[in-house]
């Protein structure tokens, strides 16, 4: 399910109940329905830095709940939530000087080494935030350029050109990783060869 759902009838009763009661169980029902998608976006927008992602995720829900009464169903609820998540992540990015580079291995704890997604996760985490947003929203979350343009408040043409650049940048990083791995292998092989050589003197 890569494509975002169209405005979903399943969300309307949940939102209606929350707006009518404002109670915890109604919130939790909404939360549990959308948390995996929104958290998946937030975690990657934050370059897989858990602490930052958790803060952005919390702020996303606070703003969403505060503004839910003004939501007009002009998009899917999930799209609206993702838009809030993008804005919250951008604000944190602006505030955080230290967020330019991951503090630790960005794929750590989310996938095992050797899984195909790990290199992609690393490459995405290493991208500049603007490229990361476009690549995630289009290629991973399946949003159209029109939807992305609306979410990011840009022109659809800008979304397309940015996507092209983002893919190129991510590809370069993936190829860079591959070169590093080849270098490491070469070093290891050379060391093994040196260790096998008979010692002289």
């Amino acid at each position: 399910m890569n494509a975002p759902e169209s405005p979903d009838v399943a969300d309307r009763p949940l939102v209606g109940e929350f707006l009518a009661t404002g109670d915890e169980s109604a919130f939790r029902a909404l939360y549990r329905r959308h948390a995996p998608l929104v958290y998946g976006l937030v975690l990657r927008l934050c370059g897989n830095r858990r602490a930052e992602a958790d803060d952005v995720f919390q702020e996303t829900w606070i703003r969403a709940i505060a503004g839910l009464g003004r939501f007009r169903w002009e998009s899917a609820l999930s799209t609206w939530l993702c838009g809030i998540a993008v804005r919250c992540a951008r604000e944190l990015e602006r505030r955080s000087v230290a967020s330019a580079q991951p503090e630790s291995d960005p794929a750590e704890g989310h996938a095992s080494a050797g899984e195909p997604g790990v290199d992609l996760d690393r490459a995405l985490a290493a991208l500049p935030p603007g490229y990361r947003e476009i690549l995630l929203l289009h290629d991973v979350f399946g949003y159209t350029h029109t939807e992305i343009a609306s979410l990011l408040e840009i022109e659809p043409g800008t979304s397309k050109s940015q996507l092209s650049r983002a893919r190129r940048a991510a590809r370069e990083r993936l190829e860079g990783n591959a070169l590093i791995f080849r270098d490491t292998d070469a070093t290891k092989n050379r060391r093994s060869f040196d260790e096998r050589r008979p010692r002289t003197g």
């Binding site: 915890e24 169980s25 998946g40 606070i62 490459a123 893919r167």
Partner: protein, 187 residues
């Protein structure tokens, strides 16, 4: 995506196979609920509402008990399981983490609710500072349990391991407080 014309650069191999969803940490849900209460974005906790239907049923049963000449016996745990006590050592100063006291109360309450929903019983109290010691006057000074306890919970659990797993999930441990688990003698 029919409206989109693909850009020059092809998608990265395998990117279409990445799952958009990621499981959020379970404790984050309670943290967010607590934050929403703090900002008054949730109106009330339904678990705090008085269950009038249960109260009405209780009054009816009590009346029936009198009618047949027997007072109702104290309720037994829903499942006759061993009981354990979780001693909560005070959280060291500066280790409490972010969030207000009210937010922490909501966290503890949510945890207790989950314990109950899992079929276990739970009760407990938070202790306030200060104590008086009686008995064993003149004996050597010892560290009293009163000095090291911040509160306690009594829970039912299948066995010791089960009780420890309940304790591990308690917000007290996440906030830097130690929990000592001991079995209650069933006799």
């Amino acid at each position: 995506m029919s409206e989109d014309h693909e850009p020059d650069e092809a998608p990265l191999p395998g990117i279409g196979l990445m799952r958009p969803e990621k499981d959020s940490p379970p404790e984050l849900e309670d943290r967010i609920v607590a934050a929403l209460y703090e900002r008054r974005l949730l109106r009330s906790d339904p678990r705090r509402r008085f269950p009038w239907s249960i109260a009405a049923a209780a009054v009816l049963l009590l009346g029936l008990g009198f009618l047949i000449g027997r007072l109702p016996r104290p309720a037994l745990p829903a499942v006759a399981q061993p009981r354990f006590i979780l001693f909560l050592e005070p959280i060291p100063q500066g280790s409490e983490g972010a969030g207000s006291e009210a937010a922490r109360v909501v966290e503890y309450r949510s945890w207790a609710g989950r314990v109950r929903q899992s079929g276990r019983t739970i009760s407990g109290e938070k202790l306030v500072g200060g104590f008086r010691r009686v008995g064993a006057e003149g004996g050597p000074p010892r560290l009293s349990a009163s000095e090291i306890l911040g509160g306690y919970f009594v829970i039912s659990a299948r066995d010791f391991d089960d009780a420890v797993s309940v304790a591990r999930d308690c917000p007290h441990a996440r906030h830097g407080g130690a929990i000592v688990v001991r079995a209650i003698d069933p006799t």
